[in-house]
């Protein structure tokens, strides 16, 4: 009997929230994890230190995944330090909420670039090595906003819905090569992003959640971890909704 295979993982936006929980979970399973971050070096160092302390292997890699040159550099750095990327978790995301009447084109473009363009750029950058290996896992973090829509988040909802379409298209393109492509769509999860919503919005949301509480980042990470595992070998093109029954 052999132990689980140690694979190389890149988690974009891995220094905080769902990204960090995913990085920690996958490192805990013996994978080597690259934690990408764009601006918060302290948080990234913190995430790497936590993984180290738990006996795992992780590195921090700075770079804006919405930019092509940065993505190429990030992938090269990970490859040099850890090896070819076998599991990609597209998690990096931002919000620039506004009513559509007031939404500036920059707020639209920023959200689409960081949340959707990054998914395309990173998936493209790891594809060569995944094709060669005839094995790969791409898991992107969408959102219930992309499934049902959120008022005041037309840009975010569009980007997150875009991830779901991208996931289906790419899944069909590379399925014959042993590469699966899936998404998770978290609902209201207790992270910095939802903390910014304020208490009124949060308690109104909780009333609509079947399980009666916000989710934790780890509860999303476990779904990502499942899709990244060999156990999920027959699942592709899917979006797993992790929302505590918000939609019921």
């Amino acid at each position: 009997m052999t132990g689980p295979i140690s694979r190389v993982v890149l988690v974009t936006g891995g220094s905080r929230g769902i990204g960090r929980a995913t990085a920690e979970l996958l490192a805990g399973r013996g994978h080597k994890v690259a934690v990408n971050y764009v601006s918060n070096a302290t948080a990234a160092a913190d995430a790497v230190a936590a993984i180290d302390a738990a006996g795992g292997t992780a590195i921090a890699v700075q770079g804006d995944v919405g930019e092509e040159a940065a993505v190429e550099r990030i992938v090269d750095e990970v490859q040099d330090q850890l090896g070819q990327i076998e599991i990609l978790v597209n998690n990096a995301g931002i919000t620039r909420d506004d009513l559509i009447m007031r939404m500036k084109p920059e707020a639209w473009d920023d959200v689409l670039q960081t949340n959707l363009r990054s998914v395309y750029l990173c998936s493209r950058a790891v594809m060569r090595s995944m094709l060669r290996a005839r094995w790969g896992r791409i898991i992107s973090v969408s959102s219930v906003a992309g499934v049902y829509g959120n008022a005041g988040q037309a840009n975010y909802s569009a980007a997150k819905a875009g991830i779901i379409g991208f996931t289906k298209g790419l899944a069909k393109e590379v399925g014959s090569r042993g590469i699966t492509v899936n998404a998770v769509a978290p609902g209201f999860i207790a992270t910095d992003m939802t903390a910014a919503l304020g208490e009124d919005t949060t308690s109104a949301a909780v009333e609509r959640i079947t399980l009666g509480r916000l989710g934790t980042a780890r509860e999303v990470a476990t779904a990502v971890g499942y899709l990244a595992s060999d156990d999920a070998s027959y699942i592709t093109g899917q979006t797993v909704v992790v929302d505590g029954g918000l939609a019921l």
Binding site: R128, L131, V174, S176, R177
Partner: protein
């Protein structure tokens, strides 16, 4: 490298990497129509060519390849260039 050597190595790659039948492969054979290699398969072949012949094949040139002979010709050009 001799052209015949390039062609022989190319045929080996097509058999090993794409699982084609050696007997089906001629220099005139078209990848998609005759050999049933899909567009992603052609991309994979070009990646294998780059690795095995240590050449760089730009996407613009790669897109024009339709037959086995054209792939051999491109590799030959790259090795000479």
């Amino acid at each position: 490298m001799e052209r015949s050597e390039i062609e022989a190595k190319l045929v080996d790659l097509l058999v090993d990497e794409l699982g084609l039948e050696r007997d089906d492969i001629t220099m005139e054979a078209r990848f998609e129509e005759d050999l049933d290699v899909d567009s992603l398969g052609v991309v994979e072949l070009l990646m294998a060519l780059e690795d095995n012949f240590d050449v760089k094949i730009p996407d613009e040139e790669a897109e024009k390849i339709t037959t086995v002979g054209e792939a051999a010709e491109l590799v030959s050009q790259k090795l000479d260039g």
